[in-house]
Symmetry: C2
Subunit: 154 residues, 2 copies
Amino acid sequence: MGTHYRGRAAEVRALDTYIKLTRATSSVGVRLSRGLAEAGLTPTQLGVLEALLHLGPLGQRVLGGKLLMSGGNITTVVDNLERRRLVRRERRGDDRRHVTVHLTSEGRRLISRVFPGHVAAIVEAFSALTPAEQEQLGRLAKKLGRSVSRPGSA
Amino acid sequence: MGTHYRGRAAEVRALDTYIKLTRATSSVGVRLSRGLAEAGLTPTQLGVLEALLHLGPLGQRVLGGKLLMSGGNITTVVDNLERRRLVRRERRGDDRRHVTVHLTSEGRRLISRVFPGHVAAIVEAFSALTPAEQEQLGRLAKKLGRSVSRPGSA
DNA sequence: ATCAAATCATTCGATATCAAAGTAATTGCC
DNA sequence: GGCAATTACTTTGATATCGAATGATTTGAT
C-alpha cells in the first residue's frame, strides 16, 4: 500500500530533477558558446584543441575517449580544424592505421589565447554557487554519472 | 594577498564541477536516447510529441520556447515528424503567419506508448541518488541555470 | 489607405553527432 | 606464409542545431 503514490512521487521527483539538470547544463553551454563563437570555435573544437594543448599530440581514438565522442565524429571535427590549419594529422610510422593529431603553432597560439577566457567564463557561470555548493553539485553529478555509465545496480 | 591562490582554487573548482555536470548530463542523455531509438524517436522529437500530448496543439513559436530551441530548428523537427504522419500542421485562420501543430492519432498512440517507459528510464537513472540528493541536485541546478540565464549579478 | 516595422515561419549554409558500412593495416592462429 | 579477426580511421546518410537571410502576414503610425 502506498506503492502507487510513492511511485508517482518518485517519478515527479526524478523528472523534475532531470529537467533542471538539463536546463542548467544547456544554459551554461549556451553562455560559454558565445565566448567561443568570437574565436570562431565550437565547443567540440575547443575541447580538441585544449586536449592537445594540455596532453600533447593524441591519436584520434584517444581524443574520442576524452571527449566522449564517436569515432566518426572525431574525423569530422579534426577535418574542420585541419582545414583551418589549427591541427595537423600525422600517420604514424610504426602502425599506419594510427593517426596522431598535433597542434600547429597557429593552433597553439589560438587555444592559448582563448582558453583563459573560457575558464574565466566558467568561473563566472558558477559564481552563483558558493564553493561548498559547487562541490556538492560536483559530487552529486559524479555519483549520478558514474551510476548511469555502469551497468546500474538496482 | 592570497588572491592569486584563491583565484586558481576557484578555477579548479568551477572547472571540475563543470566537467562533472556535463558528463553526468551527457551520460543520462545517452542512456535515455537508447530507449527512444527503439521507438525511432530522437530526444527532440520526443519533446515535441510530449508537449503536444500534455499541452494540446501548439504554435511552433511556443514549442520552440518550451524546448529551448531556435525557430529554424522547430521547422526541421516538425518537418520530420510530419513526414512520418505523427503530427499535422495547420495554418491558423485568424493569423495566417501562425502554424498550429497537432498530434495525429498515430502520433498520439506512439507517444502514449513510449512516454511511460521514458519516465521509467529517468527514474531508474536517478535511482542512484536518494530522494534528498535528487532534490538537492535539482535545487543547485536550478540556482545555477537561473543565474546563468539572467544578466548575472557578480 | 498606405507604408514601415514587427512577427512567424521557412530556407540556407555550417557544424555536430551518431550508426552503419567501407577501407586499410596489424595481429594471431595454424 | 596466409587467412581470419581485430583495430583505426573514413565515408555516408540521417537528424539536430544555430544564425542569418528571406518570404508572408499582420499591426501600427500617420
